[in-house]
């Protein structure tokens, strides 16, 4: 499966421009992490990719066919978990998944439901009414409905919100396995989720793509721009983007990213988070 985003711009009726002349090419197999601060345009991009919105300029091609003409084909191949969604509380987990399976037109819904319920660890709650589930369990039902029918395109917007660390790791692995033969797009604020499983990152800010590449490439781009130092007076920290402050017995140890590290800073090996922050902070300065 291939998605081509060509010169896509999106301006809302209230005048807010969410995306500016975006160009991207997304191909199977791939697990793409979509990073960016709030308001960067990630959710808008996702809505455009699931045809919940139409771009005000440019086009999105699904295997070469433009949306919305390819609307049906896209929906038939899509598993989508939005950031903010709801469920029919009066149904059981199985009934709800059965409903979604029918929407997707799955030929063997029972087998598909069993598979996804197992995949999201909800076997014990399969017959429970959704209104009785916890927040994390509801999130897992949301993931399960997206996975139903093994769709070749999976789009997850903040999928691990509300999950405990153990579950997060479970789902990271699940997404990773799913991406072996599919196109998976994962939008998240949790850098660890992306770092551990994504083979490609798209960093966005202010409606534009700042970076496209592998996590290693992003980390490399921050080499020499990450350092640690003992806390100083505020004036001396100008131009630095502090990413961590750790209280120790000897004082406060700071970690910062900057275009030019000050002489008192000791260079450090950048993490993906450092690299992301370096990229977005540099963009902000520019």
């Amino acid at each position: 499966m291939q998605l081509n985003i060509q010169h896509v711009s999106m301006t809302y009726p209230n005048g807010k421009q969410a995306l500016k002349d975006l160009d991207l090419e997304l191909k199977t197999p791939s697990l793409i992490g979509l990073l960016g601060p709030n308001g960067a345009g990630k959710s808008t991009l996702m809505k455009l990719l699931v045809a919940a919105l139409m771009p005000t300029a440019g086009s999105i091609l699904v295997d070469g066919e433009p949306l919305p003409k390819a609307d049906r084909r896209l929906k038939a191949q899509l598993g989508y978990l939005p950031q903010d969604f709801g469920l029919f509380d009066e149904l059981t987990v199985t009934e709800f998944l059965d409903y979604m399976a029918a929407l997707k037109g799955l030929p063997d819904p029972k087998a598909a439901i069993r598979a996804v319920v197992r995949a999201v660890n909800l076997e014990e709650k399969a017959r429970s009414r959704i209104r009785t589930l916890s927040g994390g369990q509801r999130q897992r039902v949301g993931i399960a409905q997206a996975l139903l029918g093994d769709p070749p395109l999976l789009i997850f917007d903040e999928p691990t919100v509300g999950l405990d660390p153990e579950e997060r790791i479970h789902f990271r692995n699940l997404f990773s396995r799913a991406a072996q033969d599919r196109l998976v797009l994962l939008s998240t604020h949790i850098i660890e989720d992306v770092q551990s499983v994504c083979d490609c990152l798209v960093v966005m800010d202010h409606g534009q793509v700042l970076f496209t590449g592998t996590p290693e490439e992003l980390i490399r781009s921050a080499q020499g721009h990450v350092g640690v130092f003992w806390e100083r007076e505020e004036a001396q920290e100008a131009g630095l983007h502090i990413t961590a402050r750790v209280n120790t017995s000897q004082g406060v140890r700071c970690r910062a990213v900057a275009d030019q590290l000050p002489p008192y800073a000791q260079a450090e090996e950048p993490t993906l988070e450092d690299a992301y922050l370096y990229l977005t902070s540099r963009e902000a300065v520019q």
Binding site: M54, P82, G86, E90, Y99
Partner: protein, 727 residues
């Protein structure tokens, strides 16, 4: 295909909601409102009270409830944000259609359940005149079809506005329009059909057809509106117009919406039931057409072929005129506005004719030019669905295998401007009817069967003298009763046979006719030898012509025959209703003031008492009549609101009306008979009173005001109002 897979799931989801079950339960119970609170059908037939009213009330309540649940369900997906998930998988248009189908199916299930629950209750309340066909049609048309209309209207409102609160306001306003401003417009009152009466003893197809027409008109209109709203379902983050612009790209969608709306408009404009007669009943322009110069009426013949399945009439009429003017003349006929006239010939040659668009008193004006020949035979063919004039009292032109009534121009075109010949307006009418039907001309003439046809029909023939004429036909039982020196031909519906026999109808007719003829005199509309008493389909009252009198079936229902105000037992109520042939029809009473105690009821109840006294003895009559009147009148004078009318005035209008009606009923049915009894005593006893009443019955009538007044009664008794005071 996807929709077919989705539908059972959507339905299951809907039926798992507690709210759905609550609505379902309330809808099933809602017909009870028609028994106690909301009674739009005002007639007193059993089917009006115990079938039409519950079904209409159920339809009103059910449509409102299902409309609200439709808004709730459509909004729930958006409110709970499930639509984000579903819209990513399937088009919101598909989801909307599936939800609509699920709601409609739930409505069908509810209507079916309501019919099952109310079947034994209705059968028990209605009694021997209950039929399955009436029950099914009433619940299907008066209630069942209201539910999808409510769902479509509410769903359309939601899909246009996408706001639950606004949709509820719009939907309730739409319902309120039907219940108030449109309530008397049979085509617009989509929620509460204009049904004033259902017949117990005869068929109701005309009323059911008219309601079905209204329902289907609205079904097309609301389905059209829903389809337009469906095109406005928001897609791709666009607003109402952006979504509409995108949805109409599939051309078949707007075409379907336009076709549905066009069907609705066409059905509204081309309704076949009600004519366009001038609503100003003081205008009588058809009676002011000058007579054609030198043209005299010789005879008329008509062959009438009612199609009892379709409710239509086909006929051929032939008129013989003598034209001594030596010129062509325009002859005017009144024709039923539902009929089409064709093949008009004078002496075998086609002649020009026009039918006016203007209509008056349920007639359109047909103008035919006859040639300047002395002997003219004018023939014409007519056919169509007879139309009525009163939209709020439909059913008069019922035409089915059980009953028909063809009046004047609905029977054959009525000549309007030709002078009668020496023999008046002689006519020979032939009518072909199913073998189960008896033809009863509403006059002194007798119909006879002249042929038994191979298709199971019989052709009846009768003579008549008049430009118009009324024909009744139906599945009647005929009883010939010798009474009052004449033969009473008593016709009543076969379905009513058990009730009539239980009420001792034949004996009652004999007793009443003998008594009243002997004491008051013969009925002016009796032909001397025979009098037809014809039980008619519910018509809002009876009337009489020479040789025939009509008994409205509403007066002979099981409920009415059990009305203790009118008689102690059903047979006595029957006597009461028959006495109205003398006091009410033979002598009319002004009904302008419904609160006045002087009405046809006073003398009728008094006469019933006298007949019962003669039949069952003084003690019985004293106990069941005089004592009952006294008790009722004593209670009346002690009534709080009678003693303190100022408190009645401050009550809500509806409560005030209920109390006033009840008090007024006591005055008419108990106080006035007691006053007449007092008058009898003061005037010198029963014989003296009989003489007084005979004199009043046979008095010379003032044609401008032919009513018997209380003052005339007092004057005849040589009494004053104060002397009859019961206080």
């Amino acid at each position: 295909m996807k929709m077919l897979r989705l539908f059972p799931l959507e339905l299951r989801r809907l039926l798992q909601s507690r709210l759905t079950w609550l609505i379902l339960l309330l809808t099933v119970l809602s017909p009870v409102l028609g028994l106690v609170l909301y009674k739009p059908a005002t007639s007193t037939t059993m089917l009006s009270m115990y079938l039409a009213n519950p079904a209409i009330a159920g339809g009103v309540a059910g449509a409102i409830l299902f409309g609200l649940v439709a808004i709730f369900e459509l909004d729930r997906a958006r409110r709970s944000r499930v639509d984000i998930l579903t819209d990513a998988v399937v088009s919101p248009l598909t989801t909307a259609l599936t939800r609509l189908l699920a709601l409609l199916t739930a409505a069908v299930l509810t209507a079916g359940l309501t019919m099952l629950v109310w079947l034994p209750i209705s059968a028990g309340l209605i009694g021997s005149v209950f039929t399955g066909a009436n029950y099914v049609l009433a619940y299907l048309l008066l209630m069942g079809l209201a539910l999808p209309l409510g769902i479509l209207a509410a769903a359309a409102a939601y899909q246009f506005t996408r706001r639950a609160d606004l949709s509820i306001v719009l939907f309730i306003a739409f319902c309120a329009l039907s219940l108030t401003v449109w309530a008397d417009d049979w085509q617009l009152c989509w929620l509460n059909p204009c049904v004033w009466a259902l017949s117990d003893d005869f068929s109701n197809f005309r009323v059911f057809r008219s309601v079905a027409w209204m329902r289907l008109t609205w079904l097309a209109a609301l389905a059209g509106a829903w389809t337009v709203s469906y095109l406005c379902i928001r897609q791709y983050g666009k607003g109402i117009f952006g979504s509409l612009a995108r949805s109409v790209r599939r051309v078949y969608r707007p075409v379907i919406a336009a076709a549905l709306l066009a069907c609705s408009v066409t059905a509204y404009a081309a309704q076949p039931f009600i004519d366009h007669s001038n609503p100003d009943l003081t205008v009588m322009s058809f009676y002011e057409i000058p007579y054609a110069e030198g043209v005299t009426f010789l005879s008329r013949s008509a062959q009438v072929f009612p199609d009892t399945s379709a409710g239509t009439v086909t006929g051929r009429a032939s008129y013989q005129f003598q034209n001594t003017s030596g010129q062509e003349q325009s002859i005017f006929f009144g024709v039923n506005p539902g009929y089409t006239i064709s093949n008009v010939k004078a002496n075998g040659a086609d002649v020009p004719f026009t039918v006016s668009g203007y209509q008056e008193y349920n007639e359109a004006r047909l103008e035919v030019t006859i040639p300047a020949e002395e002997e003219v035979e004018l023939t014409m063919e007519y056919s169509g669905f007879p139309q009525e004039s009163l939209p709020t009292m439909q059913g008069g032109k019922e035409l089915s295998g059980e009953y028909l009534c063809l009046e004047n121009s609905a029977l054959s075109p009525r000549v309007m401007n030709v002078m009668p010949g020496e023999e008046g307006y002689p006519a020979v009418i032939e009518v072909t009817l199913p073998e189960t039907m008896i033809a009863i001309p509403f006059s002194s003439s007798q119909a006879e069967v002249i042929s038994e046809n191979a298709d199971g029909t019989r052709t009846w023939r009768y003579e008549h003298n008049g430009a118009g004429g009324i024909l009744y036909a139906g599945d009647y039982v005929r009883e010939d009763i010798e009474a009052g020196g004449m033969t009473i031909q008593f016709y009543y519906g076969r379905k009513h046979q058990a009730v009539m026999e239980e009420a001792g109808a034949v004996e009652a007719v004999k007793a009443v006719v003998d008594y009243c003829t002997e004491h008051y005199g013969t009925l002016s509309f009796g032909s001397g030898e025979t009098l037809k008493l014809i039980q008619s389909r519910v018509a809002g009252g009876g009337y009489a012509v020479g040789g025939a009198s009509l008994l409205d079936e509403a007066d002979f229902t099981i409920a009415n025959l059990g009305d203790a105000d009118k008689g102690a037992i059903p047979g006595e109520v029957f006597i009461h209703e028959l006495v109205h042939q003398w006091w009410g029809l033979g002598n009319m009473f002004d009904t302008v003031d419904p609160t006045s105690p002087w009405s046809s009821e006073g003398l009728t109840v008094y006469t019933t008492y006298r007949i019962v006294k003669e039949l069952y003895g003084e003690a019985y009559a004293q106990e069941h009549y005089v004592d009952q009147w006294r008790q009722a009148v004593d209670d009346y004078y002690l009534n709080f609101y009678v003693r303190n009318p100022e408190y009645l005035e401050v009550l809500p209008e509806a409560v005030q009306l209920g109390i006033s009606n009840s008090l007024s009923s006591v005055r008419r049915y108990s106080e006035m008979p007691l006053k007449i009894l007092k008058a009898e005593q003061l005037a010198g006893g029963e014989e003296a009173m009989d003489q007084i009443l005979k004199g009043l019955f046979n008095r010379e009538l003032d044609p401008m005001y032919p009513y018997l007044t209380y003052q005339e009664f007092l004057d005849a008794c040589h009494l004053t109002e104060e002397e009859l005071d019961l206080g």
